[in-house]
């Protein structure tokens, strides 16, 4: 197959008022995104927010109902074949063939993406080396740990050197060690100038990897910016006051409201977003003392993306950084079944 190299100026990924319904369920309700070339863009949101649907449309797996999506200036609906040649996808579930070895999985991907046999083999060995899979390369992937499978999945997505990479929840289901390893690999790819769109439920992950973040909820972008910009929308500091019981917390919330937006968290704690942390802290402690409300804990901290999410959507993201997500096969089958049922 011959290829020409058409230069493309402008954003690597562009999405304009994208909509998608599955029956009566609105998955995407007008998403707009623009991802400059060579940057990492994070789509952050809970399960069912529309992250995966967006990725599936951008990778030509799904057709949108309305709006436009372009990758390197190519319309995903009109030129799907050209789009596919420019992208790599590592999905939510490591889609490697368990009965094939790592080397064979890479060979298959090289073959299907139309690489000449010799250069595909060299590329495969290079990726095995880089992803620390050389020792296991002759073993069938079914014997791999979760982290190894995810690394192989990522390697498979990179065989044809795509300029744009989509990672759908790349570290879901990995232990902290596996997550850290994958983050380092992703950072290396980015350093080489790849454009990357990643979806995640982990605020910590978006904070660490993404240049810009869009917070997605119910098929819409509810906020977009860099991690510091999103944090700045909250005021600069959070004061966290732990109280003895829910009644005390409810009273404290009313008292602390004048300092800034105040929320009850976990039943007995109150979080207040304030501008001037040190001053507000002093006043809050004095006020509580005057009202005979004795706090069990008082903490002052910088806002996290979890706080951003809470403020923007009125609830916490489902999985926070350290929580073990539901990755057993049953949950997986149920989710896939539910998706299909919706479609």
């Amino acid at each position: 197959m011959t290829t020409n190299h058409a230069p493309h100026d402008g954003p690597a990924i562009e999405v304009e008022s994208l909509t998608k319904r599955f029956g009566s369920v609105v998955a995407l309700d007008g998403i707009d995104l623009s991802v400059p070339a060579g940057t990492v863009f994070g789509l952050l949101g809970p399960n069912g927010a529309g992250k995966t649907t967006t990725v599936r449309i951008l990778t030509t797996i799904l057709q949108p109902d309305g709006g436009h999506a372009r990758v390197l200036g190519l319309d995903v609906g009109r030129e799907p074949h050209a789009v596919r040649a420019s992208l790599g996808l590592a999905g939510q579930y490591a889609a490697v063939d368990e009965h094939l070895t790592a080397r064979e999985n890479l060979k298959l991907a090289g073959w299907l993406t139309g690489q000449p046999r010799a250069s595909a083999r060299a590329r495969g060995e290079e990726l095995l080396e880089r992803f620390d899979l050389t020792a296991a390369a002759g073993r069938v992937a079914g014997t791999y740990s979760g982290g190894m499978r995810k690394r192989l999945d990522l390697a498979v997505a990179l065989v044809h050197r795509p300029p744009v990479l989509f990672l759908d929840e790349p570290t879901t289901g990995l232990d902290p060690q596996g997550r850290g390893d994958l983050w380092e690999l992703i950072e290396e790819l980015v350093a080489e100038g790849m454009t990357l769109l990643l979806t995640t439920q982990y605020l910590e992950e978006a904070d660490r990897l993404a240049d810009r973040i869009a917070v997605v909820d119910n098929g819409r972008v509810v906020a977009e910016g860099t991690a510091p910009e999103l944090k700045a929308r909250l005021g600069s500091t959070i004061i966290d006051v732990g109280l003895a019981d829910p009644a005390a917390a409810a009273r404290a919330r009313v008292l602390l409201e004048p300092f800034g937006p105040a929320e009850i968290v976990d039943g007995t704690a109150v979080e207040v977003n304030v501008d001037d942390g040190a001053r507000a802290l002093l006043q809050i402690v004095r006020l509580l003392d005057r009202e005979r409300l004795e706090p069990e804990t008082v903490a002052i901290r910088e806002p996290t993306l979890d706080d951003v999410f809470l403020t923007l959507t009125g609830r916490r993201a489902e999985a926070s950084g350290g929580a073990a997500p539901d990755t057993n096969d049953r949950g997986r089958a149920r989710r896939r079944g539910a998706q299909r049922g919706a479609a």
Partner: protein, 270 residues
């Protein structure tokens, strides 16, 4: 905003090169499916144990009670066994596709710059290769229990060719079922009630004349009977043209209906 200029790989495909790519993609998928057969040989072993048991049962247990005029029962039986083996083996196509859907592999294939038809064509092609092994094994088993070809080697080869065509046609039916159910267990479960009446209400094990009149009419015109009759004509003798033409027409008809349905289902699947 940084605007970097970078090369976009835009493949320029012509009719001819896209055909070559489709053939190459189909070969890649076939290779992958055959590797799986080598990695999990149990699949092949277990799918041949059942027909071997049938051979032993009908040859040595029921065979004595079944009278077929003008032919030894073992010679009558074996073409039926071949058809049964190939028919039940074609369930594999559906189960394999349902598995690939479940693991997300098909989703990945759909994001690759490969021919849309290749996943199905590569699967059915690999199942033809698999059937070559299975039919060869069953012919050998037949020879061991006393089956003899009355015509010649060319007749036997033509009969094997018909069996492979029959399996290929049924593979497309089960490809559709596998994609529609999207679950290996369901694909397996859906196949049995479909195949069992076709295989047992046919001339595979007993002459149609022993069945009630209404069943004879149904049994005489269904593809398993027609395939078995064509194979018998080829290996035992008798007029071959009419049964072979009928059988090929059935196979082509099944493929013409089910291949487009399966491909369209594949486009919407995942």
């Amino acid at each position: 905003m940084t605007t970097t200029t970078f090369p976009a790989t835009v493949p320029v495909t012509t009719e001819r090169s896209s055909l070559v790519k489709a053939a190459s993609d189909t070969m890649a998928i076939t290779w992958r499916n055959l590797l799986m057969l080598r990695r999990v040989p149990q699949l092949l072993v277990f799918s041949t144990i059942q027909p071997v048991l049938f051979v032993l049962m009908f040859r040595y247990v029921f065979g004595g009670a079944i009278r077929v005029p003008g032919v030894r029962y073992v010679d009558y039986l074996m073409p039926g066994i071949f058809a049964q083996t190939v028919a039940f083996g074609s369930i594999n196509t559906g189960v394999g596709l349902a598995q690939d859907l479940g693991t997300g592999l098909i989703e990945r294939f759909r994001s690759l710059p490969m021919a849309r038809s290749a996943v199905l064509a590569g699967r059915t092609a690999a199942d033809v290769v698999r059937n070559v092994l299975v039919v060869a094994l069953m012919v050998s088993v037949g020879f061991i229990v006393g089956f003899r070809v009355h015509t010649n080697a060319a007749g036997l080869l033509a009969a094997v060719g018909l069996m492979l065509l029959f399996g290929f046609a049924l593979s497309w039916v089960f490809a559709l079922i596998g994609l529609a159910t999207a679950n290996p267990e369901s694909a397996q479960a859906a196949a049995f009630p479909l195949l069992a009446p076709l295989v047992f209400a046919s001339s595979a094990f007993v002459p149609l004349k022993s069945m009630p009149g209404w069943l004879q009419v149904l049994a005489a015109h269904q593809p398993v009977t027609i395939t078995v009759d064509a194979v018998r004509a080829l290996v035992l003798g008798g007029p071959t043209l009419r049964p072979v033409v009928q059988m090929v027409a059935w196979a082509v008809g099944l493929i013409a209906v089910f291949a487009p349905l399966a491909v369209s289902r594949y486009r919407r699947a995942a």
